[in-house]
């Protein structure tokens, strides 16, 4: 099993979510994060210009079986893309075990 962590634009979230549902990936967690990166946003406040590299993003955490890995990553790569600096990142890591709390099943049955 693999964990996919994707940091995407908040504005792309609905599209990514819909695309993931489209390939039968229906379970994941997400939360809003602030990050530092290359994208700069110009602000002006009472005559003072400043740019901030603190950017708001959404962080998704998806655990999938190995067969689903490539499909899921490609889906995210396509649906979260804009072509501008700041589109985000995807990290893949190994997951040792997964459980479904309600039934206490583990392994593949734990994540489907």
């Amino acid at each position: 099993m693999k964990q996919i962590e994707a940091i995407i634009r908040k504005s792309k979230f609905d599209e990514v979510k819909k695309a993931l549902h489209g390939i039968e990936v229906n379970f994941f967690s997400y939360w809003d994060v602030t990050g530092v990166g290359n994208e700069k946003q110009g602000h002006v406040y009472r005559g003072i210009s400043y740019s901030t590299t603190d950017i708001q993003r959404r962080y998704l955490s998806i655990v999938v079986s190995n067969e689903f890995l490539e499909k899921t990553v490609n889906t995210i790569l396509e649906s979260a893309y804009t072509g501008n600096v700041g589109d985000g990142k995807i990290f893949v890591s190994e997951v040792k075990e997964a459980y479904r709390i309600r039934t206490k099943e583990s392994g593949q049955a734990g994540i489907n």
Binding site: V44, Y45, G47
Partner: protein, 412 residues
């Protein structure tokens, strides 16, 4: 006088009293909106302290100190006796004889009482996010308790400025500049917030945490000004009150637009907070002469006030002073402008009047700088006026009050 007319006048004055009272909500919202949420409780606490303690001080001696009943033409400066403590209505206080039938003595006390605390509120915004609450409370008691009524007596109490012909309809100088001078002295002695000025001396932006609240605050203040200026007619005189409301609103609108346009021209952005400050600048600017100006003149005064706002905020930054809400630009500089405008526009315009206005501005300026300097300087030397660095970074709510303004939300 017809008792119905006396009643009508008094009802309007009581309504005006309520409107001026409501301005404290406006100040509170504006101040917290333009500052960070870690200091929100502290700012609200200051504002509530001002309303409550300010009124009690006015009851205790402020009202009598401000209206000591100087002898006609005595050019009085200060008059106070042991009888002046506490309030007691004169014999004719509840009759039309008291104030030409404009209001009762009770109304007089309360209406004026609502103005008194405003001077300290102005300072509250300027010193936000870094002043010790204890020191601020002591300052408020001394400034609202003594300086404000003494200055007020010089004009509204019939003192020497009044004998000279100095004119301040609703308090551009007596309220707004009095607060503004203290705000200027306070921020000079207090220093700027950590992170406001970079190592190169350039100012940095510290954005407020709730622009919606700031906007609501300004609109509430504008509403309150219907009472602040409308009630300063001191009766429900249909022509004067309706004229005053018109000049007040036109000046506010013009001030906002001028500030918005100038800040766009200078900074290439449509800054809402400048727009809001411009409205306030227009309101303060018309306050000295709202009953003297024609609508056209009111608009001109407002436009100039709006320009002053934008330039004033930049000037304060240039002087390396930190004024989170623009109090100095709005209340001090526009307060001076409004006072001088009485000599330039309207039915009292003239070289002589302008000089009288100028003398008033200067004398009151010196007095306020000296008194606020002594009070704040003494506080600085004794109990200290500035919170520690850790307190400032973690927020005054936590350290001065042990509270969280938004415990349910996570703050950035």
């Amino acid at each position: 006088m017809d008792s119905g007319l006396f009643t009508a006048n008094n009802v309007w004055m009581m309504l005006a009293t309520a409107l001026v009272f409501f301005m404290h909500t406006g100040f509170a919202f504006l101040e917290i909106g333009l500052t960070r949420s870690k200091n929100t409780i502290n700012i609200l606490f200051k504002n509530i302290f001002i309303i409550t303690v300010g009124l009690l001080l006015y009851y205790a001696w402020g009202f009598n100190m401000m209206y000591p009943g100087f002898e006609e033409g005595s050019a009085g400066i200060f008059q106070f006796s042991m009888d002046s403590f506490g309030i007691s209505a004169p014999e004719n206080g509840m009759t039309p004889e008291y104030a030409d039938g404009g209001y009762t003595w009770w109304t007089d006390f309360l209406f004026q009482g609502m103005f008194a605390a405003t001077a300290a509120t102005i300072v509250s915004g300027a010193v936000a996010e870094r002043m010790k609450i204890g020191a601020f409370m002591i300052f408020t008691v001394l400034y609202v308790g003594l300086v404000y009524p003494i200055v007020g007596a010089w004009k509204w109490g019939g003192g020497f400025l009044d004998s000279w012909g100095f004119y301040d309809f609703a308090g551009s100088t007596l309220v707004h500049s009095v607060g503004g001078w203290a705000a200027l002295v306070a921020i000079a002695l207090l220093g700027s917030r950590i992170g406001k000025f970079g190592e190169d001396g350039k100012p940095k932006a510290i954005p407020g945490h709730s622009i919606p609240l700031a906007t609501a605050g300004v609109l509430i203040l504008w509403l309150g000004w219907f009472g602040f200026n409308g009630g300063s007619v001191l009766s429900a005189d249909p022509e004067l009150t309706s004229l005053v409301l018109v000049t007040t609103c036109l000046s506010a609108a013009a001030g906002g637009v001028a500030a918005m346009v100038l800040s766009f021209v200078l900074y290439k952005n449509l800054d809402l907070t400048m727009f809001l400050n411009g409205i306030l600048g227009g309101l303060v600017g018309i306050t000295a002469g709202a009953d003297l100006m024609s609508p056209n003149e009111a608009i001109i005064i407002g436009l100039i006030a709006g320009l002053i706002i934008v330039l004033g905020v930049a000037l304060v930054d240039k002087l390396k002073l930190d004024d989170p809400v623009g109090a100095v630009a709005v209340h001090l500089i526009c307060g001076i402008w409004g006072t001088l405008a009485v000599g330039i526009f309207g039915s009292m315009a003239g070289g002589g009047q302008f000089m009288t206005q100028l003398y008033g501005v200067l004398i009151i300026g010196v007095f306020c700088i000296v008194t606020s300097g002594i009070i704040i300087g003494a506080l600085k030397a004794t109990v200290g006026i500035r919170v520690s660095k850790e307190e400032e970074i973690e927020g005054l709510d936590l350290h001065e009050h042990g509270m969280d303004a938004y415990p349910d939300f996570t703050n950035d």
